[in-house]
Every structure is written in C-alpha cells, then in structure tokens.
C-alpha cells in the first residue's frame, strides 16, 4: 500500500470515477488537484463539493504547469493515455495510474473481476447477487454504477469485491490482482483494424497479468479469442462452454448447467437449463461464467441455483423477448432518452435493427451518429418524433419510416438476417401512442410473440 499523506496528486478527468478518486485521495491526506477539459459551467454541480473538501479545480483544459510538481497522476477511464501532456509527464518518470489501479492498491479482501466485450454488466450483477445471497460480504462496483475507489472504505479482509472492468480501465493497470478473473468474450466490436483488435484483446488479457498460480482465470471456450488467452495465463484456467464439456469449469449437459472443479472430480449438476430466468444464448454464457466464478469463490452449487433462479432481468430494460429465424428481439422500452438508447446500442456489437421514436423530448439524435454508423444496420422510426429523427440522421444510416410500432416490428423482422438483433430502444417518451413505456414494451412483446407463432423452426 502506498502512502498518500501530504503527496501532491493530480486527478485528470472529472467523471464519476474521477470525482470519487479525488475525494478518496483528499480524505487520505493528499493535496489534490482536479483537471478537466470541460468548462466550469458543465461541471458546475460537482465543483462546490470539491472546493469544500479543499481540492483545487482546473477547468477548460489542462495547463502544462498543472502536470508539473506532482507526485502522482490519476487518470479517469475516459481520458486517452496518449495525450501529449501525459506522454511528457511519463517521460519525466512520474507515476501515471488509472482509477482502477489506485483502488486496487487500497482495496481490502479479495477481488473477482469481470471483463468482456458483451455481457459484463449482467454477469457482474449476477455474481454479486449469488455471493450476497450466500452470505459472503460482497461489494459490487466498477463500470456498473459505483466507482471502485468508492468501495475502499467499506472493504474488509473478508470482503469479495465483484468488479466490472473495461478494457479502458485495464490498459493502465499494474498491480491490479483479482483472485478470480473472468473474460466473457472478446469480439472485434466496432474496431476495424486487426492491429487495434489485437491490442484491444491484449488489454483485456491484462486482467490476469498480475495473477499467480494460486489465482483463477475463467474463460469462454466458445469464443476463439478469449479461449486463446489460456496460453498466456499462469493462473489455474477454468473454461465455460455452451457447446461442449470442459476439463474444469462449467458447461451445459443434458439440459443442465453443470460444473466440475477438476478433471477427476465428479460433475455437479447446478441447475436445469430451463430454470435460468435470463433468455438468449449469450445469457446462458453469462450464467455459466457466473456459476464457474462463484463456485471458485467458494459458493456451493445449491446456493448458486437458488440465487440464479431468483435473479430477474429487469422488465423493459434490455429484456430478451424471443429468437425468431435466428433473429433476437430485445425490449428496451425504458430507453426514453438518447443516453439510454446509446447504452442499449452499445450492448450489441453489430447487426442491430433499431426502432426509434415516440414523443420527442427536444433531444439531439445526432449524438447517436457514431454508434449508428458502427453497429446499426437500419433504423425504423415511429411516432411524432419520426420526422425530426429522419432529418437529423439522414445519410448516417438507412432509415425506414414506419409510423407505428406494429409496422416497425414487421419491417425490422423481415429485414433482419439470422444472427442480427431487433432492438426497441426508442430514445423518446411513449405518450403519443402509448400510456407509458411499460405499455409500449408490452405491446412490442406481444407483436413479437405473434410473429413467433409463424415459424416452427425457431429455437427456444
């Protein structure tokens, strides 16, 4: 553990985790400065609290002198590592660390870290729930809500911290040392160049870089890039697979989720597949990963079953509806603003058919442009906001004007090819055509269910 009292520390980027890091450092007696490129107005709501704590605040850019005469620099996940200022500071030999790395140096107890291109949040929430229900003192944080530094004060030597970590955060880790590291999958995402895909994959692999032979790493055997990480880990490797049995880990066999702790140990039946409340093939992978990780953390199969069966995906929040002709339908009716829609889009790597529209809330839909270009194949507009959406997003993505949800579902279902996704994440409120977002979500689910009857080939 490092001594912070009296040290001069600069926190770059005043996001949620930057703010938490600054407050933590200040309480440990450091002289803290915060610097952000955004204007004072944009940050107005956080600045008074910082000033009250005696933290210096710089806004509207970083002065070069700000980076001088510091003992430590902590950067937020959103801040790129290759800015000229940081490059220069590093050349002076100053330690530059991320918020996750800072937290890792102070967090007590053991860490269970989860990364991957898709499914991190669900799996982290599920593992947190399993551990909690089993009576393990559990803290859940990282990308999922609470910044990791904010967990430090509550952690004890008995605590398991279940963390969702992104490749951004892993890029700047050194001593971050989870006892159990999970890589759910590594997919090219929106990265085009193979070179950058490989560096993205290597960033994910940093999750087990500090591990030793007493630790565990849990990998997806069905995802080529994630499985290949096994060759570079010194920890004990556990696999999970939907498709076949593994030496040690979790898999699906005769309609059951099963687990085996080692090659010569008996196979434990954890729970029947049809009792898993989360639907969709990728969610089975997430549950298998959670089963394997929780078992390794010492929770019994029975406790895992109870917790998983009780775990409910939140209705209308990226809720899986059905798979028809290989096309998966998701209901995110709760996405009533552009931000929530952006998050929903980001949950899928590509091939999205997105239903947008409803009652406009004076939103700026152009914020979605980059995501739409990278991941969305077509947009289907509904409701009174349709005209505005179409004019703002013209040329970004192909847009079909559908007016009603009924027509949008039909059009999207016939356009989507197997492996693609139809997503209702409208970025608007529902009041022009529906009572509320719950009503809109239910109508969507009914429309999808009707289509389901048409085809006998769909998988469960």
């Amino acid at each position: 553990m490092m001594e912070l009292k009296g040290k001069k520390v600069l926190v770059v980027g005043l996001g949620k985790s930057g703010l938490a890091a600054a407050l933590f450092l200040r309480r440990r007696g450091a002289q803290v400065t915060v610097s952000d490129v955004r204007s004072a107005e944009a940050l107005a709501k956080d600045i008074p609290a910082l000033l009250d704590e005696g933290i210096m605040v710089e806004t509207g850019g970083h002065g070069l002198l700000t980076f001088r005469r510091q003992d430590l620099i902590v950067i937020s996940p959103g801040v790129p590592l290759n800015t000229p200022e940081l490059a220069q500071v590093k050349s002076f030999g100053l330690p530059v660390i991320g918020e996750l790395e800072l937290a890792a140096r102070f967090l007590k107890g053991k860490t269970l870290a989860i990364t991957g291109s898709n499914g991190k949040t669900t799996t982290t929430a599920l593992v947190g729930e399993i551990l909690q229900k089993a009576g393990v003192p559990t803290l859940v944080g990282g990308n999922i809500g609470v910044p990791v530094v904010a967990l430090i004060e509550q952690s004890t030597d008995e605590t398991w911290s279940v963390l969702e970590v992104s490749s951004f955060q892993l890029e700047s880790t050194e001593q971050f040392h989870p006892a159990i590291a999970v890589i759910l999958n590594i997919t090219p995402d929106h990265l085009d160049r193979h070179g950058s895909f490989e560096s993205y994959a290597m960033a994910k692999e940093r999750i087990f870089a500090a591990q030793n032979e007493h630790d565990f790493v849990v990998l997806n055997a069905d995802n080529a890039r994630a499985a290949q990480a096994a060759a570079r880990s010194v920890a004990k490797v556990y696999f999970f697979s939907v498709e076949h049995s593994v030496l040690q880990g979790a898999w699906v066999e005769d309609g059951f989720l099963v687990y085996r702790s080692a090659k010569d140990e008996p196979v434990e039946k954890v729970m029947p597949l049809h009792n898993v409340p989360l639907k969709g093939a990728h969610n089975i992978e997430n549950v298998l990963a959670a089963v394997c990780a929780s078992r390794l953390a010492g929770v019994s199969s029975e406790q895992i079953r109870n917790a998983v069966e009780a775990f409910q995906a939140v209705e209308h929040r990226l809720e899986y509806v059905a798979t028809i002709n290989g096309v998966e339908f998701y209901n995110d009716s709760k996405a009533t603003n552009v931000d929530a829609t952006a998050k929903a889009i980001a949950s899928f790597s590509s091939g999205i058919h997105l239903i947008l529209g409803g009652k406009d809330k004076n939103s700026d839909y152009t914020q979605l442009s980059q995501l739409l270009r990278d991941r969305v194949r077509a947009v289907y507009t509904i409701g009174s906001a349709a005209a505005k959406i179409e004019s703002e997003l013209r040329g970004v993505v192909s847009i079909l004007s559908c007016e009603t949800l009924d027509k949008a579902v039909s059009a999207a279902a016939s356009e989507a090819r197997p492996g693609e996704v139809v997503l209702l994440a409208p970025a608007c409120s529902s009041f022009d055509q529906f009572e509320n977002y719950e009503h809109r979500g239910r109508v969507f689910k009914e429309l999808v269910s009707e289509r389901r009857g048409w085809n006998v080939w769909q998988r469960a």
């Binding site: 898709n118 999958n185 997919t187 090219p188 193979h194 895909f197 990998l219 055997a221 069905d222 995802n223 080529a224 890039r225 499985a227 290949q228 096994a230 060759a231 490797v237 696999f239 697979s241 498709e243 076949h244 049995s245 593994v246 030496l247 040690q248 880990g249 990728h282 998966e328 899928f348 790597s349 590509s350 091939g351 090819r417 197997p418 492996g419 693609e420 996704v421």
Partner: protein, 364 residues
C-alpha cells in the same frame, strides 16, 4: 451476436482469377505435348477445365453450407474412414511414374486421394482441438491423440511415395496445434522424432539423394538429377521482366518436365515474365490475407481453426511450389494450388475454399 456479413468478395474473385489464369497457363504449357500425345491441343486443358468447373460448383454449394455442420462426430469419423480407405486403395491400382498416387476408373477418371487428405486433416484437427483448448499442455491425451491420424495419413502418403504432400500436412498440422495453444517445445520434440526417418528417406532413397545433391550443386548432373531444376531456372531467366509472351515459351517444348503441373510457375515466368509472376504471387498474398483475416475474426473456435488450416494449406503449397521452381528448396512435387494441372487438386482446393468462404460470412 455473430453478425452475418456477406461472402468475402476479395477472396471469391481472387480464387476465380487464379483458376482462370491456371486454365490459360495449363493450355499454354500442355498444348504441344497434348497434340503430340493425343492429337489434340485441348486434351489436357479440357480435362482440367472439367474439374475446375466441378470445383467451382462445389465451392458455390459449400459456401452456403454452415461450416459448423462439420463439427459432427459422424461427419468427422466418416471423412477419416473414407480417406484412410482411399489412401490404402491407391496401392491396389497400377502405378504411374513408379508411384502409386492415383485411383483410376477406366481411362477417363483419375483421382488422387492424398489431395483430399489435406482438408480432412485440417477439419479433423479443428474438431479435435476446439474442445480441448484448455488441455493443450496434456501431451498424452491431447497432443498424441491429435497427431495420430495425421501421422497415419502422412505414412501412407510417404509410402506412395509423395513426400512433398506429407510435408505439407505436417506443416499445416503443426501450425494448427500452435494456434490452438501448443507450446513450442512439443514441436521441437516432434521434429526430433521425425528427423531421423526424414533424413533416412532423403539420403537412402537414391533419386531423392541425387536431387538433394543436385540442389546444392546444379552443375553436377545437368542431364540427370539436376535436369528439372536447370530447365526451370532457364525458363525463369528467359522470361526476363515482361516475358516471351503468351504461348511463346520454349522450355515447355519437352525441355521443362512437368511444365503444366509442378513446374507451371516456371512456364508462367518464361511467358509472362517477372511482372506476371509477381502478379500471381500478389494474388496468393491477397488470398492469404483474406483467409487469415477470416480466421482471426470469426468467433467460433472450430471455424477459426478450419479457416486458418485451409488458408495455410494453400499458402504453404504455393510457397513450396514457387520455392522449388526458383531452386530455393530441393525439388519436391507439390502443385501450385488452383493453377497447376491436376484435377483432384483443383477440385479439392476449390471445395475447401467454399468452406472458407462460408466462414468469411461470420467474420465481422
């Protein structure tokens, strides 16, 4: 969330271009010999074209078959059984050039089983290894079992004898094992085990040893063992920058042996020159880049191994073949994929590319 993208058009058209160039050059290289032997300049190229058309049809069909269907145990066992049977059956057919490489039905239809062994080894290893990526350090249960079938095939093929094809299979198998996570030290062990018999095959078989000596010193026996390679180098040199022109090559006129098969690249160099040769190399480079791209972008471990194996099989053969023509390695009979005359080779290669093209659809 495997997004489906279209078939890789670069790979598709590169393949067709290579096949067309192949037919055009096979005609040029074989017309005179065919006229002499069969009284028709089209005798060889006609048969080759038939196989190529069948191959393209097979490719068009297989590129619409989901590559994951080959994961089935029944398919794998059948493929292994049929291949073993064919590799044994060749010994019961009359030989040609003192070798037993072909199965013949009447005078028309001949078939070379060692060609089919190459993709079968790739698919078998992909199937066997994709569920054992966590067991690659277990040499007894994983590595030895994985090696058994390929080694059996290699032994049968060496017996034909066709050392070149056996070496291609060994190279591809090694690369697949390494991709699946085998440690390099095991490759060292395998090489140490294989080296004594390999040296024995090279030194104790008189014509191989002579070719080896000829490789080191081409002036030793220019009319005998070094004849192939000298004629080949003469052809390449005669081509110069722009070549003698299509159909204008001299070396194929009974000087350059196997002008339409193993040494067709020499004929290309002579007639189309350095520029034409480089164009062929570039086509293979584009093909290889697209194949590896598919391999590293598909997310299914089985498909990744299959795509990698098929791509390296083709690249390795092209590399060896061109190296032989340029006398960078000793003479070994390995066809230039898609271009050399040889019906089974072009058919099986196109069918494998069909499988590869299907995988490109799942490569985001």
């Amino acid at each position: 969330m495997a997004a489906r993208v279209g078939i890789d058009k670069w790979m598709f058209f590169t393949t067709l271009l290579l096949v067309v160039v192949g037919l055009v050059m096979v005609f040029s290289a074989s017309a005179v010999v065919a006229q002499e032997r069969y009284n028709s300049p089209y005798a060889f190229v006609g048969r080759q074209a038939g196989w190529a058309v069948a191959g393209v049809l097979a490719m068009l069909f297989l590129m619409h078959v989901d590559a994951k269907v080959y994961k089935s145990t029944r398919f794998i066992y059948s493929a292994l059984a049929v291949t073993t049977l064919l590799l044994v059956a060749v010994f019961f057919f009359p030989g040609s050039h003192n070798t037993h490489r072909w199965i013949r039905f009447g005078g028309l239809f001949t078939f070379q089983p060692s060609e089919i062994a190459k993709p079968v080894v790739v698919i078998f290893l992909a199937w066997f290894l994709h569920t054992r990526l966590d067991q690659m350090r277990d040499w007894k249960h994983t590595l030895l079992k994985a090696a058994a079938m390929p080694v059996l095939f290699m032994l049968l093929i060496v017996k034909q004898p066709d050392l070149g094809t056996a070496l291609v299979i060994a190279g591809v198998a090694a690369m697949l094992l390494l991709l699946a996570g085998m440690e390099w030290k095991y490759l060292g062990v395998a090489a140490a085990v294989a080296l004594p018999p390999l040296i024995a095959l090279l030194v104790l078989v008189p014509w191989r040893f002579k070719r080896l000596l000829a490789f080191w010193n081409p002036d030793l026996d220019p009319q005998g063992a070094a004849f192939h390679i000298n004629q080949s180098l003469i052809a390449v040199g005669a081509g110069g920058l722009t070549g003698r022109g299509y159909m204008e090559g001299m070396q194929k006129l009974f000087y350059l042996p196997e002008a339409s098969t193993d040494f067709i690249f020499a004929n290309i160099a002579e007639e189309l020159g350095f520029i034409g040769s480089i164009a062929i190399v570039l086509l293979f480079a584009v093909f290889g880049a697209r194949g590896l791209r598919a391999a590293f972008r598909t997310q299914d471990p089985f498909c990744r191994l299959v795509a990698f194996g098929i791509t390296t099989t083709i690249l390795l053969q092209a590399f060896f073949n061109i190296s032989v023509v340029l006398s960078l390695v000793p003479t070994k009979g390995i066809p230039l994929p898609l271009i050399s005359s040889g019906g089974t080779s072009v058919f099986v290669t196109l069918a494998s590319i069909g499988i590869l093209l299907n995988i490109t659809r799942t490569a985001e």
